[in-house]
C-alpha cells in the first residue's frame, strides 16, 4: 500500500489550495505568487539537472558524438524503455514483448502530454497562433461519448495512459520492490492536475476569458486576479506548480542514468 502515502500528500496539496483560496481568499498568492515561484524553482532545478547529466566518467566515456547520439535516441525514441538493446540481439521474445508495449505506451503518454502542454499556450499567447488554434480544433473534434460537450482526445488518452502507469506500478512486482514510499507523488500530481483540468471543462466551468487574463497577466507582468472563479482553477494551478517544483527538486537521478551503461563505452 505504498501509494497511499503519496495519494495523501497530493490530497493534502489539493486541500491546501482549496483552503487557501476558498476560505482564506488568498487569490494573489495562489494565482500569481506560487506560479512564478514554481517556474523559477523549475528553471533553476532543471538547469542543475542538465548540468548533472554532464557528469560522466571521462576514463570510460564513449565520446561526445556517441553520447549525443545515445541521448537523442533516449529523448526522441525512449530507447531505455525499449529494452535498451537492439531487437535482433534480444534472446527470448517473451522478454521483448511486454517492454515494447510499454515503450509504445510511454510514447503515447508523453505525446499526449506534449499536445496538452502546447494547447495550454492559447492561454498565454495573444493573439493565439494559428497552429495552436489548429491543434485545438483537431484535438476537440470528437463529441461522441459525452453527450453535451466536446472531448479532447489527448485528455482521454492521457488519463488512460496515466491510469495504466499507476496500476502497473502498483501491481508489478518490479516496481513494488524498487519504488520508495513517495515515488507515486509525481504520478498522482499528474493525475490530479489532469482531473482538475478536465473537471473545469466538463462540470465546474470557469470563465475562460478571466483565466486567459490571469495567464496573460503572468506573461506580461501585469497581474490580473480573477476573484469570482471557483477554487478548482487554483487547485489546478497549485497542483501543476507542485509538479514543477517536484521535477526540479526530486532526488531521482536523471532519466539517462536509469541504465547504468548509458554514459560508458560499450565493453567488448
Amino acid at each position: 500500500m505504498k501509494f497511499l502515502s503519496s495519494l495523501l500528500v497530493v490530497l493534502a496539496l489539493t486541500f491546501i489550495a482549496w483552503f487557501g483560496v476558498g476560505v482564506l481568499k488568498l487569490y494573489a498568492v495562489f494565482g500569481i505568487g506560487i506560479p512564478y515561484l514554481a517556474l523559477i524553482i523549475f528553471a533553476i532545478g532543471f538547469t542543475n539537472r542538465l548540468l548533472q547529466l554532464e557528469q560522466n566518467n571521462p576514463e570510460n566515456s564513449p565520446g561526445t558524438k556517441k553520447l549525443t547520439a545515445r541521448r537523442l535516441l533516449e529523448l526522441l525514441y525512449f530507447r531505455s524503455f525499449f529494452g535498451n538493446i537492439k531487437m535482433k540481439r534480444q534472446e527470448s521474445k517473451e522478454e521483448s514483448g511486454p517492454s515494447n508495449w510499454f515503450w509504445a505506451g510511454v510514447y503515447i503518454f508523453f505525446g499526449a502530454l506534449l499536445i496538452i502542454l502546447i494547447r495550454h499556450l492559447r492561454l498565454f499567447l495573444n493573439p493565439v497562433p494559428s497552429f495552436i488554434q489548429g491543434l485545438e480544433t483537431i484535438d476537440s473534434f470528437l463529441t461522441i461519448g459525452f453527450p453535451h460537450n466536446v472531448i479532447y482526445i489527448t485528455d482521454i488518452v492521457f488519463i488512460v495512459a496515466l491510469a495504466v502507469i499507476v496500476l502497473r506500478s502498483i501491481y508489478s512486482s518490479f516496481m513494488k520492490n524498487t519504488s520508495a514510499s513517495l515515488s507515486y507523488v509525481p504520478l498522482f500530481l499528474l493525475l490530479g492536475s489532469a482531473l482538475s483540468g478536465i473537471i473545469m471543462v466538463y462540470y465546474w466551468r470557469v470563465d475562460i476569458v478571466s483565466v486567459k487574463e490571469l495567464g496573460m497577466g503572468l506573461v506580461t507582468f501585469r497581474p490580473f486576479i480573477p476573484t469570482n472563479e471557483g477554487s478548482i482553477l487554483f487547485i489546478h494551478i497549485f497542483l501543476v506548480s507542485s509538479l514543477l517544483v517536484y521535477l526540479a527538486m526530486s532526488s531521482r537521478k536523471p532519466m539517462y542514468q536509469w541504465s547504468t551503461s548509458e554514459n560508458e563505452a560499450n565493453i567488448g
Binding site: F42, L121, R122, N126, E136, R205, I208, V209, V219
Partner: protein, 126 residues
C-alpha cells in the same frame, strides 16, 4: 567539474523554450476583450438582462445551448423557463441572436481571445 560547451547550448535552449511565452508578450499590455452590447434590440430594452444571469452565461452559455438543442430537437419542447421563472422561445436565431445581432463585436471578441472556435454556422444558417 568542467562542462562542455554543448550543455550550455542545451541549457540555453531549455530556458528560451521555458520563457518563450514571456518573450512573445514583451511590451504587450494585458487587455481583456470587451464584447459589445451596442445593438438596436439591446439598446431598446428597459431592463438589460440575458436569459440567465451574466455570470452564469459567461461560464455556461454553451451548456445552455446544448440543453436547448436537446430539448428542442429531441424532446420537442420549444419553451425554456429560466431561473427567474420567465419564459423564452428556444431558438438560437430568434432568441439569442435577436439581441446579440453583432457576432463580430460580441461572440467573436472573446472566442478569438480564448482561441475557441465557433461552429454554430456549420449547421445554422446566418
Amino acid at each position: 567539474m568542467i562542462y562542455s560547451k554543448k550543455i550550455y547550448l542545451g541549457i540555453l535552449i531549455f530556458i528560451i523554450l521555458l520563457i518563450s511565452p514571456f518573450l512573445a508578450s514583451l511590451g504587450k499590455a494585458n487587455v481583456p476583450p470587451v464584447p459589445s452590447l451596442d445593438t438596436p434590440v439591446i439598446n431598446a430594452m428597459a431592463v438589460k438582462q440575458c436569459v440567465e444571469p451574466t455570470e452564469y452565461m459567461k461560464d455556461y452559455h454553451m451548456q445552455l445551448l446544448y440543453k436547448w438543442r436537446d430539448e428542442y430537437v429531441r424532446e420537442g419542447n420549444m419553451i425554456y423557463v429560466n431561473s427567474r421563472g420567465q419564459k423564452y422561445t428556444i431558438s438560437l436565431e430568434k432568441t439569442c441572436l435577436k439581441c446579440h445581432s453583432n457576432e463580430e463585436q460580441f461572440c467573436q471578441k472573446c472566442h478569438t481571445y480564448a482561441g475557441v472556435k465557433l461552429y454554430c454556422w456549420e449547421c445554422h444558417q446566418k
